[in-house]
């Protein structure tokens, strides 16, 4: 029998499908091509690393001052950024202050992401009464302007870093619940989720494998936009006497204690707030960049 030659019996070479680059790889690539986002990322990394390495980088002790060298201007030999109202080295205190300011700004967003994301996904996936209870509870928090509720809670609990963290977390949870709830509701009834349920997958498996991947994106972008708000609020609470207490170095508190120095050393007095502004601006621009990198059509 002819007609079938040997060549036709050999299996065709497998179609080489290049491992399709994941969605997040694409987002990362687009983000890395955006010069503004990359600059912001570099600035943030530099500030975070400098804050973490404060004990090794700082030239002096953050708590030791001296009456004879109060409010030295920027550029004084031995004190590159001058000294504060108690004669403590500014560079040292800005480095140390970054630790607490960044922690107090970033930690509430992380905690709110965990709690709010979980609550929102449950509300969206389970629906019904559970949804109603969770969403009505968030409505109550939404009835307060965020800063007002943060001041109310921190004001009632009293000054202190832990109380500020708690107050900010409570304020940030509801918006994250809303975003994750609406994202989950949109995904819940799609065919592939329905199919997973039909094949007998349990609720937790369905959420973990099929829902979470689709909810994470919008929720993470949203949470990234909250970082700037959280940093400003945290330092603001310290500024008005809640949050960090003297002599702890913290940017908002430093801005408050240096207020009387604006007449003699205006540039020096503006430094801590300037850092809050730079960090907040960088977070906002990076969040904007991330958002446009994720919009693929």
């Amino acid at each position: 029998m002819t007609g079938i030659d040997a060549a036709s019996l050999t299996p065709p070479p497998p179609v080489v499908v290049a491992a399709s680059p994941g969605y997040w790889t694409g987002v990362g690539r687009r983000l890395s091509r955006d010069p503004v986002s990359m600059l912001c990322l570099a600035v943030l990394v530099a500030i975070v690393v400098a804050a973490i390495l404060a004990p090794w980088l700082a030239p002096a002790d953050p708590s030791i001052g001296s009456v004879v060298r109060r409010l030295k201007p920027i550029g004084t030999p031995g004190y590159p950024l001058g000294t504060d109202e108690l004669g403590r080295d500014m560079l040292t205190r800005l480095l140390w202050g970054g630790r607490l300011s960044l922690l107090m700004g970033i930690a509430p967003v992380a905690m709110a992401l965990l709690v709010g994301g979980t609550l929102g996904t449950i509300a969206g996936y389970v629906g019904g009464k559970t949804n109603a209870v969770i969403m009505r509870a968030t409505d109550v928090v939404f009835a307060f302007p965020s800063i007002l509720l943060a001041v109310a809670i921190a004001g009632a609990l009293g000054p202190g870093v832990a109380n500020t963290l708690l107050a900010l977390t409570i304020v940030l949870i509801p918006p994250i619940v809303r975003v994750s709830e609406s994202a989950t509701t949109q995904v819940r009834d799609l065919d592939f989720v329905e199919a997973a349920r039909a094949t007998g997958a349990g609720a937790i498996t369905v959420v973990r494998v099929h829902v979470l991947g689709n909810v994470m994106g919008p929720v993470l972008v949203y949470a990234s936009s909250l970082l700037s708000v959280s940093i400003i609020l945290a330092a603001g609470l310290s500024f008005i006497g809640l949050g960090a207490r003297p002599p702890t170095p913290e940017w908002g508190l430093m801005l408050a204690t240096l207020r009387n120095a604006i007449w003699s050393q205006p540039l020096l007095a503006a430094l801590p707030g300037g850092l809050i502004f730079v960090v907040s601006l960088a977070f906002n621009l990076l969040s904007d960049g991330l958002r446009s990198a994720m919009e693929v059509e």
Binding site: L148, A152, G158, I240, G241, L255, W263, F283, N284
Partner: protein, 311 residues
């Protein structure tokens, strides 16, 4: 329309009650005995007894809430520990200052935001758009308490043009003179947010088919912008309503910087003196103002957006 208004009002009542409940619980959230929190440290036994009876501090919590709420409805917010005067009196004396500051800041912020947003949205993608967007993101990112200090350094310390603190004595002009710096400081955030919202809305609506159709039939630029404005108005109004509420609340930081004698400074006093009744009353009034404002925005929205009348 009346049905819609009634529905919104009915919806706002449970929210207002929930807000009052949160404010009530603030006293119980604070560490320590509620009794010592609402009384000065040197309170006499007689004062302790009257307060106990008045607030029903030995009653179960839900009853205490109703008792407190009854007082609040009648205008009794308790007595300030730091001044010894009724909290209601303190708030009445301060709220006018905050309202006028917020109103001026709103005028500045919204006018700036709408103008810049419309320009950026109309020229989306150009250098001008990028420059306006950069200003807007700075407005959103700047800590107001720092911006206030920087403006004081420039306009009070260096140039000596404007006063750095206080509300000014005598006359509307003196008042306005003192209001400029705090109002501009307070306006930065809403200006940035409104610019960003309006820019996005204008750019989105300009890209719609109906605008292309209007252009194709030869409609002038001004008439097209009118169509765009009508479509932008409802959402822009909602954004601005929320921002107005935030202006009242956000003024706590700005009023602290400028020693502006409004509700923000009241809150600052309450925090520094651990004056819980004053804190509770001020928060309650500001939060209820915010609830009322949201209600007004909800009711106004169908008036500018006929599409919403179907409900």
């Amino acid at each position: 329309m009346y049905g819609y208004v009634a529905k919104r009002i009915l919806h706002a009542i449970p929210i207002a009650l929930a807000v009052s409940l949160v404010c009530f619980l603030l006293v119980h959230m604070a560490p320590g005995d509620p009794l010592t929190l609402v009384l000065p440290a040197d309170a006499t036994q007689a004062m302790i007894d009257t307060t106990k009876a008045k607030y029903g501090l030995d009653l179960p919590l839900p009853l205490q809430y109703l008792l407190w709420l009854w007082g609040v409805v009648g205008g009794d917010f308790g007595t300030s520990i730091s001044t010894g005067r009724p909290v209601a009196t303190e708030i009445l004396g301060a709220i006018g200052y905050s309202l006028s500051l917020a109103a001026l800041a709103a005028v500045i912020g919204f006018a700036l935001g709408i103008t810049l947003g419309a320009i950026a949205g109309y020229t989306a993608g150009t250098l001008l758009d990028r420059m306006v967007s950069a200003i807007a993101v700075s407005g959103v990112s700047v800590p107001q308490y720092w911006l206030g200090i920087v403006l004081v350094v420039i306009f009070s310390v260096d140039l000596g043009w404007l006063p750095a603190m206080g509300a000014g004595e005598g006359g509307v002009l003196a008042r306005l003179h003192h209001m400029i710096l705090p109002a501009v400081t307070l306006a930065a955030m809403p200006a940035g947010i409104v610019t960003r919202s309006v820019r996005a809305l204008v750019a989105e609506i300009l890209a719609r088919d109906f605008v292309t159709a209007l252009r194709a039939k030869g409609l002038g630029r001004r008439a097209i912008l009118l169509h765009v404005a009508r479509n932008v108005a409802p959402t822009a109004l909602a954004v601005m309503g929320v921002q107005l509420g935030y202006l009242m609340a956000g003024s706590i930081l700005v009023e602290t910087v400028f020693s502006w004698p409004g509700t923000g400074l009241l809150l600052n006093t309450a925090i520094l003196q651990r004056d819980i009744p004053l804190l509770q009353g001020t928060i309650l009034v500001l939060a209820l103002f915010f609830v009322g404002l949201n209600l007004v925005v909800d009711i106004l929205q169908p008036l500018v957006d006929p599409r919403m009348k179907r409900t």
